[in-house]
Assembly symmetry: C2
C-alpha cells in the first residue's frame, strides 16, 4: 500500500516566529504545511513546546509522515538545501505574481525538491537574495498561512487535497450535514 | 474606471473569535477575505478594537471597498442573508470535499451571493444545518485562514488575485528580488 506521494517534495521553513504572539499563526502554518502536502516544517529559533506537541498530536491521530524540526540558523539549512539539489521559494507579497507571471511554470519545470520559506511580518533582506524565486500570492497584504496553502494548491494542482496519510487513527467521511468521523483499522495505511 | 468586480459577491462571517487568543488569526482571516475578493467581513460578538483598526488601516493604504462590521447574533444575519436571496457556505473539515465532490459546481451554478462562514475550533451544531453547503477544503485539520483563501481561489478561479482596489495609496510592483512599492497618483482608481 502506498500513500499518494506528491511531486515535487516540499519542506516549509518558518521564519520570524515571535513567542506567544505568533503561537496560533505558527500552529496554523504547520497544520497547513501537513494538510497541503509538504513533508515537514522547520522552525528557526525559539518555538514553544506546546506548538510542537500540538502538531505531533495531529500527526499521531490524523497520520503522517510529517517532520517537525527546530534549527538555530536559517542560513545553514538554506545552504544545505541548495547543495543537495533543491530550490528555494520565498513567499512574499513583493514577489513575482503567481498567476500574472510565469513563475509557477518555471518552478515546476525545475522538477526539484522545494524549500518554501514563509516569514512573519519582517523577513531579513538576505532571504530575497538567497531565494531562487520570490513568489507573491497576489501583491496585497494578507497571511503567510493563506500564501502557503494557495502556493501548495497551485503547485500540486489540487491533488494535495486527496493525499492519503499513513497510520491515521481517525478519518472523516465527508458529509453535507454534521460530522462523521471513523476509527481507522489497525493495518489501514490511509 | 472600474474595479475588476468579481462574481458572485461574497461576504465572510467569522464565528467564535476568542479574545486575545485569536487576535492574529482573526486579523489574518480578515486580510485574506479582502485580498481574495470578498466584499467584507462580519464579526460576531466581542472583537478587539485593535483588529478593526488594523484592517481599516490596510483598507486605507491598500484600497477597498471592504466592509467590516460587528453583530451580536449570527442567526439574524444568516436569516437576513437568505431572505435577501443569498446562499450560505460553511467551511468545515467535515463537509463535502471541494475537489472530490461536485459541491463547487453546485455552488457556482446557483449564481447567488455567498455568505461564507468560518469558525474557530468549535462551531455550534446549528451552523451545519443553517448552511446551504458545508464544504471541506480537504478533510484534514488545518486552518480557517487557509480554507477561506483556497475556497475563494477556487470560486473565482484565480481572478481574485488580480482584483484592483479603489483609492489605494500604495501599490507593489512585482519583483523577482527585493521590494518595490509605489505611491499611487491621486486620481488612480487602482
Amino acid at each position: 500500500m502506498e500513500t499518494s506521494k506528491l511531486s515535487p517534495s516540499t519542506l516549509v521553513l518558518r521564519l520570524g516566529h515571535r513567542k506567544e504572539r505568533d503561537k496560533r499563526v505558527t500552529t496554523h502554518a504547520a497544520l497547513v504545511a501537513r494538510a497541503f502536502g509538504a513533508d515537514g516544517i522547520v522552525f528557526v529559533g525559539d518555538v514553544e513546546k506546546t506548538i510542537i506537541e500540538k502538531i505531533n498530536d495531529v500527526v499521531k491521530r490524523w497520520g503522517g509522515p510529517f517532520s517537525i524540526s527546530v534549527v538555530n540558523s536559517y542560513k545553514k539549512i538554506i545552504e544545505q538545501w541548495k547543495k543537495s539539489g533543491g530550490i528555494v521559494v520565498h513567499l512574499t507579497m513583493y514577489g513575482e505574481h503567481i498567476t500574472e507571471s510565469n513563475v509557477m511554470q518555471r518552478i515546476k519545470r525545475e522538477e526539484k525538491k522545494i524549500l518554501i520559506i514563509i516569514g512573519a511580518e519582517k523577513v531579513p533582506r538576505i532571504i530575497y537574495e538567497l531565494a531562487d524565486y520570490n513568489v507573491a500570492i497576489g501583491n496585497q497584504p494578507h497571511s503567510e498561512i493563506a500564501a502557503l496553502a494557495v502556493f501548495l494548491d497551485h503547485l500540486y494542482e489540487g491533488r494535495e487535497l486527496s493525499k492519503e496519510f499513513y497510520n491515521a487513527k481517525i478519518r472523516i467521511i465527508p458529509s453535507s450535514r454534521g460530522k462523521k468521523v471513523v476509527k481507522v483499522e489497525a493495518n489501514d495505511c490511509g
